[in-house]
């Protein structure tokens, strides 16, 4: 046994408190330590995931109290998978942004890495905690670091985007608190497993009210349709790697929270239909608005919202295949979107307005970046040899098994839209005249950024050619999500206690 899941949270927090001290000794350490911590988290969560796949769920208690009373952390195949994914991505984002923007002053730059680390720690906390109020606290940690990261540049628009995000986030947390209040007043407990086991005693009307409050609360993090107004602005104004972190990490945590609510806590069958409807609306609205965008990051943001809509539709199907497809989509999105953000932000680096039109003809000047970007574009629209193809295929087959023809048709239509707007960009990169002034030398990414992008590209290709490399983990995870009784039993009887 290598360690306990609680270290995934405790070590980043410890590092966050240490960094201001150590930064006084040697400033470079402020950049290095978050990377070391993220690497440690990656190794820890990967080994724990391996351990879990061999030996069953780990339930870690805090302060030595049994789950209904103390807070507990659950490291199951599903949560472990998400935690590993997040820490891996977090490490890559750190790697990409290690030498990012040296011209920014030291003081904000120092804070950038602390916020990034805590963003990831908070997202992992949302995923692995087993207590709703604790989840609320982690949502706030993630939220505040996300607001701060959005307002990182001192330009005028970033503060607006951040304020918008903050207001919606604050409203969301208020709603979450109301939902927690309803649940506590009805059931007298805050532990997720305990709530799930007592849920059948609750009055159905109150149940629905509580669920609505929960979904409105978490939906803002998860970018569900009417609540995603913050996302495009925040993605556009935040630094490029932060956009990748939002798309790959924060949104995943939000989706996980919704899914946990609906699959485990609340036993309301109609919630699945609700998921399908809301996911479809999100998908269609987001993809059609992505078609109209002029700015690259904004387009990527809408595309990301659309992908999340697709994920929610897949979860809404509710069968094992559906969940598997959704998790596969999440994995692929987490791998592909950062690549798009990284290479995209390199491509538009020197332009002022970050417009798509300004990328004309960059393919000849920056062939590597252009290649990465088009690889990502091909993968995310689901062209056959790449990663996105398999996940979309599994969504379609899951829908077909349930006979949901309408969904299949809509997904195909939306895929066509996706192809149109991504290929528009690829077309501009490769087949248009170079439009910027010649004197401006294109930005060449540094070695660490290139390494980060290479890793992602290789991951895309590996998943594309050998999807079996990941399907085992995904099957485990989806089994874990669907098996509510086992979750409750494991937590309430402390599952497999740790040997340390």
């Amino acid at each position: 046994m290598v360690g306990s899941p609680v270290l995934l949270i405790a070590i980043p927090l410890l590092a966050a408190f240490v960094i201001p001290l150590i930064g006084m000794i040697w400033k470079e350490l402020v950049r290095i330590i978050p990377g070391l911590v993220l690497a440690y988290m990656l190794i820890l969560s990967a080994t724990l995931l391996y351990y879990v796949s061999q030996n069953g769920i780990i339930v870690e208690t805090i302060a030595g109290w049994q789950p209904p009373w103390g807070i507990n952390l659950v490291f199951s195949p599903l949560t472990g998978f998400l935690a590993t994914l997040m820490s891996a991505l977090g490490f890559l984002v750190w790697l990409f942004s290690y030498r990012f923007k040296r011209n920014v002053d030291f003081e904000p730059a120092k804070k950038y890495f602390i916020f990034l680390m805590l963003l990831i720690a908070g997202a992992i906390g949302i995923v692995i905690t087993g207590d709703i109020f604790n989840q609320f606290v982690f949502i706030e940690i993630t939220g505040i670091s996300a607001y701060a990261l959005t307002a990182f540049y001192t330009g005028r628009n970033s503060a607006e985007a951040s304020f918008k995000y903050l207001m919606m986030g604050a409203l969301a947390s208020s709603f979450l608190l109301v939902a927690i209040a309803i649940l506590y007043s009805q059931l007298g407990t805050l532990n997720m497993a305990d709530i799930a086991s007592k849920m059948h005693t609750m009055n159905p009307t109150y149940k629905i009210i509580a669920l609505i409050f929960f979904i409105t609360g978490i939906g803002i993090e998860a970018e569900i349709f009417p609540l995603n107004g913050w996302a495009p602005d925040a993605y556009t104004e935040a630094p490029g790697p932060v956009g990748a972190a939002f798309a790959g990490i924060v949104v995943k945590a939000g989706v996980y929270a919704i899914i946990r609510m609906i699959f485990t806590l609340f036993d309301i069958p109609s919630a699945y239909d609700f998921l399908i409807v809301i996911g479809l609306i999100t998908l269609i609205v987001a993809e059609t608005s992505a078609l109209r965008q002029e700015k690259l990051k904004r387009m990527l943001a809408y595309s990301s919202i659309g992908q999340m809509g697709l994920v929610i539709v897949a979860f809404g199907i509710g069968t094992h295949e559906g969940v598997f497809a959704a998790l596969f989509l999440m994995l692929n999105h987490a791998v592909i979107k950062p690549l798009l953000f990284f290479s995209g932000s390199s491509l538009v680096f020197n332009s002022k307005e970050k417009q798509i039109a300004e990328m004309n003809g960059l393919g000849k000047r920056m062939p590597l970046m252009a290649a990465f970007f088009s690889l990502g574009a091909f993968a995310i629209v689901g062209l056959p040899p790449f990663a996105g193809f398999w996940s979309k295929l599994s969504v379609l087959s899951a829908a077909a098994n349930e006979g949901l023809l309408l969904i299949i048709v809509l997904i195909l239509i939306v895929s066509v839209i996706e192809i149109v707007y991504y290929f528009r960009v690829v077309n501009r990169i490769f087949f248009q005249e170079y439009s910027r002034e010649k004197s401006a030398a294109p930005h060449r990414p540094r070695v660490n950024a290139l390494v980060a992008m290479f890793v992602l590209a290789i991951a895309i290709l590996v998943i594309g050619f050998y999807p079996d490399a990941v399907t085992g983990i995904l099957h485990n995870a989806s089994k874990d999500l669907l098996n509510t009784d086992e979750y409750i039993n494991n937590v309430l009887q402390l599952g497999q206690s740790l040997t340390r």
Binding site: L166, L177, I180, Y184
Partner: protein, 124 residues
């Protein structure tokens, strides 16, 4: 007499906290001044805290503190859990308010106004 009053009080406390939430929401949704919006947020927070504390109240109860003379009074104590939650929530709310206000100061530095309509791209 007291029981009757208690019944009215139930209505009153829940009603007041929910009204407080609604008043805050009204401010957030309709007001155009940024500071007013943040004030609305803090009013909402107050309402929710009152709601939580009300849930934990016990008629004739006393505070959940086992000070000398009250070591055996566990049966009459009000529910401590919502109090702990509210304690956490108040501090978190303060943190969010502080960040919001610093953002407002920065917005004012750029735009010299507090109206969302005039800060152009801040659409809702």
């Amino acid at each position: 007499m007291d029981d009757k009053l208690f019944e009215i009080l139930e209505f009153g406390v829940y009603g007041a906290s929910i009204l407080l939430i609604l008043i805050g929401l009204y401010a957030v949704l309709t007001k155009r001044s940024l500071i007013k919006i943040v004030i609305g947020m803090s009013i909402i927070d107050g309402g929710i805290h009152l709601l939580l504390i009300t849930i934990g109240y016990l008629k004739g109860g006393t505070a959940p503190i086992f000070s000398p003379g009250y070591e055996e009074a566990a049966g009459q104590m009000v529910d401590p859990v919502p109090q702990a939650l509210v304690l956490t929530a108040i501090v978190i709310g303060f943190g969010v308010t502080a960040v919001a206000l610093s953002l407002i100061i920065r917005l004012y530095r750029h735009h010299h106004t507090l109206e969302i309509d005039e800060i152009k791209r801040l659409k809702w």
